[in-house]
């Protein structure tokens, strides 16, 4: 996206104050969004985002600046700003004088779309959306259906004073169907939102009519559901997006962003047993076409498959460049950022619980009274205390081992490390689902996943 000579000059100028490392991140996004409500195109937008972020390290002190003026003058100005910000009038590091010998690494297209971003016209997109809407009309109580299609194409270049030159191209597509059901008792929703690192062939993987139908059925289920019970009880969590519990209760606690500052309750616990032995937890940035996959992270480091917890024992953290400098742990290709307006930090990619051996039906056996959390919404955590929460989108009562009437509005809360020890059985039906994760370096696409599993007790927040 930028000439090598210009990149090199920007990096050299940026180090004029004596920085020992400089990194230039350049990106261009093209985005499209289409929102359709009950057959009416409500909003159609398109956009270009284009900018650069320049980061300098003085030891572990970081200065960062970004701009969307990518002309040589614009970039030189940013470099000067950075040098002044640090307030140092140091000299050019000897290693910076000899010119940079970039090692070019270009993405191989492991997650490349079959249907390119520019292909197919907008009518084609509308037709697929209308199929989703039609699919959602599963009963007369469905009053509104909203479908949103988001398409992103991101070109990235990362170049550093250590000679890294990585170019990546990331295409992601996601559509959400929200069905709104209404009767005399009120208004309830059902939501489905598949997404992958793919083009419009996402519609082949997830036929829109079926996605719509599932959203519609979930809205109807919630309409006839009673408010969830309140109290502490056993809970079976469904596969796929159910994995959000681990994302919150465990994943965020393993990012060096909080581990390096001992601001995670799981700091300094490598090699220790931190979960029940039925738990193996993996963060994989290489899953073909995964929603959170990319060939390079946003520091130009190749992504990898990182085993975080194996049979309950902590094996690795998720490590970015700064985290590696601070802790000495090996970088895991986990440096990510929303866009050029953020400096990268260690973040999750596609994170999931490995399949266990317990048949799904067995999980329910012996539960006198409990909750089956079949589908999940989002969650949240405070790594320093481990306190987390996540919302149940579709839930059912378990009575004497049987799945019975639906309940709505349950939120599960707990303290991560305690809940993880209470996972007593994991089934073999692993699935994953896409989400957006918000943290220090912005909002990022991540996958979460798990098989069905049983937690012996957890606080269920419903109606007392």
């Amino acid at each position: 996206m930028l000439a090598e000579a210009l990149v090199e000059e920007v990096l050299q100028r940026a180090r004029a104050g004596g920085a020992d490392f400089a990194e230039l991140y350049v990106e261009r996004w093209r985005r499209r969004a289409l929102r359709v409500l009950s057959g009416q195109v409500k909003e159609a937008t398109s956009g270009i985002e284009y900018g650069a972020g320049l980061r300098l390290f003085y030891g572990t002190e970081v200065v960062y600046a970004y701009t969307n003026d990518l002309s040589p003058q614009g970039l030189f100005e940013v470099a000067e700003t950075l040098v002044k910000l640090r307030g140092s009038a140091g000299q050019v590091d000897a290693r910076g004088q000899g010119g940079l010998d970039f090692r070019r690494a270009v993405a191989q297209g492991l997650h490349a779309p079959e249907i390119p971003f520019t292909a197919r016209d907008k009518r084609y997109r509308l037709e697929r959306i209308r199929e989703a809407e039609a699919g959602a009309m599963v009963g007369p109580q469905i009053k509104q259906v909203q479908t949103q299609l988001n398409e992103w194409e991101q070109e990235v270049l990362v170049a550093t004073s250590e000679g890294v030159w990585a170019e990546d191209r990331r295409v992601r597509t996601r559509f959400y169907v929200t069905a709104i059901a209404q009767d005399a008792s009120g208004m309830q929703t059902g939501v489905m939102g598949p997404g992958l690192s793919l083009g419009l062939e996402l519609f082949d993987r997830y036929p829109p009519a079926e996605v719509g139908r599932r959203a519609g059925l979930q809205a109807l289920t919630n309409l006839r559901a009673k408010p969830a019970p309140a109290g502490t009880m056993p809970v079976v969590i469904g596969n796929g997006f159910g994995g959000v519990i681990f994302h919150e209760a465990l994943g965020h606690l393993l990012e060096t962003t909080s581990v390096a500052k001992k601001a995670s309750v799981l700091s300094d616990k490598l090699g220790e047993k931190v979960a029940s032995e039925v738990v193996t937890y993996i963060d994989d940035g290489t899953t073909p076409h995964g929603w959170g996959s990319q060939e390079f992270d946003d520091e130009g480091h190749p992504t990898e498959r990182t085993v975080l917890i194996e049979n309950g024992v902590l094996k690795s953290y998720m490590v970015d460049r700064l985290g590696s400098l601070l802790t000495g742990y090996r970088p895991t290709g986990s440096g990510r950022r929303q866009d050029y307006t953020f400096a990268p930090t260690s973040r999750m990619r596609n994170t999931f619980i490995a399949p266990g051996t317990t048949p799904k039906e067995k999980l329910f056996e012996g539960i006198e009274f409990g909750l089956y959390a079949a589908d999940m919404g989002g969650g949240q955590v405070r790594p320093g205390s481990g306190e987390y929460n996540f919302a149940v989108k579709e839930g059912y009562i378990i009575r004497k081992g049987r799945i019975e009437e639906p309940v709505r509005g349950a939120m599960l809360v707990g303290k991560g490390p305690e809940s993880i020890q209470k996972i007593v059985a994991v089934s073999d039906d692993l699935e994953t689902g896409p989400g957006m994760c918000g943290s220090l370096s912005g909002s990022l696409p991540v996958e979460v996943g798990q098989p069905h599993l049983l937690i012996s007790e957890i606080v269920v927040g419903g109606q007392a």
Partner: protein, 438 residues
């Protein structure tokens, strides 16, 4: 090309093509100084922005935006917005006629202090936090400032610009006592750097977080709730703003549809939006369509008076426009409040119940379409009129409209919170809500 030049270039092109267009250009400036371990660990400085276009063709609206300000990119934006407009099936969109709105500076020189003082402020917050022996870890402390200039123009004659911004001190830390740990954050915001006080930010953090240590489980049951301003403000931001949006009413997503003139909340409850508030963090001279700003009473003594409107929703519903058009350069036309606040009341006499100090999980546990919420909370148990002990590992659940109807008293002091929009609230007492815990 500057942002203003980009706006003028697009309007000129649109006129030449005979298109009705509105251009919103936003230029942001950011400075963040982050301290940790007695040193500044990160400084970020930036200027950034973009240009968003809204095109209306025979009542159909299309949008496009760019951050690249070259003639090629701007031409692409206009063509793309035009194509997007033709795709729309719904008609009824229009660009309001307007005039010269002038240039306004709502920020002034309040943030012009030298960088060294800002570094000191970030470091001093950390010093303040570490002064308490219960502070276990400080993740970071920050001074952050943000300044925005908006340039609006349309082929229908609207033209204007304004500048606003703020500086903030932030503290993120973990406090502990014995085995009990609590992580939290504190935020203080002002348009004047010199009005910020690092010692006060640290003290507030310690007061609010320290009181939650050694919390006990809460027994499941129904309790009287005393929401602190920050907790109520968050709930209001997620639920109230959504339900009061005329856009959501028109799309059949608001439980308040058809309820203008009806009693929807307790008589103690009055809700106001005031973009003209002097010194307000979200004050604005005009909205995103160029409609001059005005004070709006949304709920008066429990009675719903109006929704938040832009020109399009007001015309569709045949009511006056309240001047609440909102959009960013990347986004589409919506409605949004400015300085939204609950009018303070006569004061609260606590007897028995739970003080809710914090709510978590609002993005997933609060559904503004159904009005239902079930949220992780932190709080204090009140017994015999006094705070007895902190409680944890529980949720509070209910229906937002039922909650509004059961407000029994309001505190006398208004507190502004800038976490999800700019929302002001006093302490709010609710007769009874469901709490789930042990």
């Amino acid at each position: 090309m500057t942002f203003e030049e980009a706006r003028d270039y697009l309007l000129q092109k649109a006129r030449a093509l005979g298109l009705e267009a509105e251009v919103l250009a936003i230029e942001n400036r950011e400075l963040t100084v982050q301290a940790h371990g007695g040193r500044v660990e990160n400084i970020t400085q930036a200027t950034q922005g973009g240009v968003g276009v809204r095109v209306v063709v025979e009542g159909k609206t299309g949008y496009a935006y760019t951050e690249e300000r070259t003639p090629e990119a701007l031409d692409w934006v206009l063509a793309e917005a035009h194509e997007n407009a033709l795709l729309q099936s719904e008609t009824g969109g229009f660009l309001p006629a307007g005039g010269e709105l002038g240039r306004h500076d709502l920020l002034g020189e309040g943030l012009s202090a030298p960088l060294e003082q800002k570094r000191r402020a970030a470091l001093d917050v950390e010093l303040g936090l570490r002064a308490d022996p219960r502070t276990r870890q400080v993740q970071m402390t920050r001074y952050a400032e943000h300044e925005t200039q908006a340039f609006l123009g349309s082929t229908q004659g609207v033209s204007g610009a304004f500048r606003n911004g703020y500086g903030a001190l932030m503290a993120y830390a973990v406090m502990g006592q014995g085995q009990s740990l609590k992580q939290s954050f504190e935020l203080e915001v002002s348009k004047e750097f010199h009005a910020l006080d690092p010692g006060r930010t640290a003290q507030e953090f310690i007061r609010k977080t320290g009181r939650l240590l050694e919390a006990r489980p809460l027994k499941t049951g129904r309790y009287r709730a005393y929401f602190e301003p920050r907790a109520f403000g968050q709930l209001l931001a997620v639920m109230g703003m959504f339900m009061l949006s005329a856009k959501n009413v028109l799309e059949g997503k608001s439980l308040l549809a058809g309820k203008i003139g009806q009693k929807i909340a307790s008589e103690t409850f009055t809700l106001v939006d005031d973009p003209t508030l002097p010194g307000g963090l979200a004050s604005r001279p005009f909205d995103a369509e160029g409609t001059p700003a005005q004070r709006t009473v949304l709920i008066e003594q429990g009675v719903l008076k109006t929704f938040l409107h832009n020109a399009e929703t007001a015309r569709k519903m045949g009511v006056p426009n309240t001047g609440h058009a909102w959009r960013g350069y990347k986004g589409v036309l919506g409605v949004g409040p400015s300085n939204l606040f609950v009018a303070p009341g006569q004061g609260i006499q606590m007897d028995e119940g739970i003080v809710v100090t914090d709510l978590m999980g609002l993005h997933a546990g609060a559904n503004p379409i159904s009005g239902e919420f079930s949220l992780q909370a932190l709080g204090l148990k009140v017994e015999g009129g006094e705070v007895a002990y902190p409680v944890e590992n529980f949720t509070v659940a209910g229906n937002f409209l039922e909650l509004l109807a059961h407000i029994t008293a309001l505190g006398t002091e208004l507190e502004w919170n800038p976490m999800m929009g700019i929302v002001g609230s006093p302490m709010v007492e609710v007769a009874e809500l469901s709490f789930a815990g042990a």
